[in-house]
Symmetry: C2
Subunit: 149 residues, 2 copies
DNA sequence: ATTGGGTACGTTATGTTATTACGTTGGTCA
DNA sequence: TGACCAACGTAATAACATAACGTACCCAAT
């Protein structure tokens, strides 16, 4: 349970460390790794990776943050209302790190149907696409004029 | 490109290291990490992680092996015929490491439609489920009688 | 008010996964 | 033959993640 006194810069109900980490993830505007978060929070008193991992794990459990498995990084959930058991689909641009989040009930149903057929119990689902966003694929022929990940 | 002379224990057209690594992955019957592969191949002259990573990357490019992103491990592709641009869906049992591979055109179409709508170019797609297989979830109430991952 | 449980925290150390950098080998082909 | 290219070998290091310990604090039951 959250520390009752803390009220983070973004959301209340988070502990101090959770709020710091969430804030850093939000500010990044793209997936950010644990050690990069650590680097940014050292000036604010965070000293070790464990502290980051503890906080992101809480945030993930709350559903506020997603882990991008394919790049070992974390990103703010941009899905407005709470997920009702829906699978999060993430597309990440190789070029600029932009992330688009999506949900698709049809996909969820297809996966559930498959699970029933194979008689296994689904615990978690991760769907991740690597892509070039419109801007980055449009710029493909030009020199590298924009910031890369 | 493959080394022209080598013919591995499993498939021809692979280099010696690729064949060794593939063989180890196949023998494992479940996802196996790079360092575990390394451990098994040390007696056969492989000395460093790079050699493993080079080989698995080639095998992945050939489509012979999949990387399971969510657990940083590698598994033999069990899809019979060559994939026609299909997305691989993997379900991995937490209990015993069993893997089931699947493909679903409907899911592929939904993701493609989404990509079109958002105007990005898909490069790769990873769909991974963590699950308990029928055997492991049936055994849930019993003591740990079977080998765990 | 004391005590015991639970949660987050801090710190150190270590374990695990992956890549960079650089030089060598051996086959291909003009 | 010699330029090229792909795979290989080796050492070092980077990047990601957890274990194991003890402390601080709130809360609820005694």
């Amino acid at each position: 349970m959250p520390h009752p006194l803390s009220a983070g810069p973004i959301l209340s109900g988070l502990t101090k460390n959770q709020a710091l980490v969430l804030d850093t993830i939000v500010m990044a505007h793209k997936p950010i790794g644990a050690y990069e978060i650590l680097g940014k929070l050292k000036p604010r008193g965070i000293k070790s990776p464990v502290q980051i991992y503890r906080a992101v794990n809480s945030l993930i459990q709350c559903g506020i943050v997603h882990k991008v498995e394919s790049i070992n990084a974390f990103v703010r959930c941009t899905h407005g209302h709470p997920h009702h058991g829906q699978t999060t689909i993430l597309a990440i641009c190789d070029g600029c790190g932009a992330v688009v989040e999506h949900h698709d009930d049809t996909v969820d149903r297809r996966l559930e149907a498959w699970a029933r057929q194979e008689a296994f119990e689904v615990e978690t689902v991760a769907i991740e696409l690597k892509m070039r966003c419109a801007r980055c694929s449009g710029l493909a022929s030009l020199a590298t004029t924009k910031t890369q990940v």
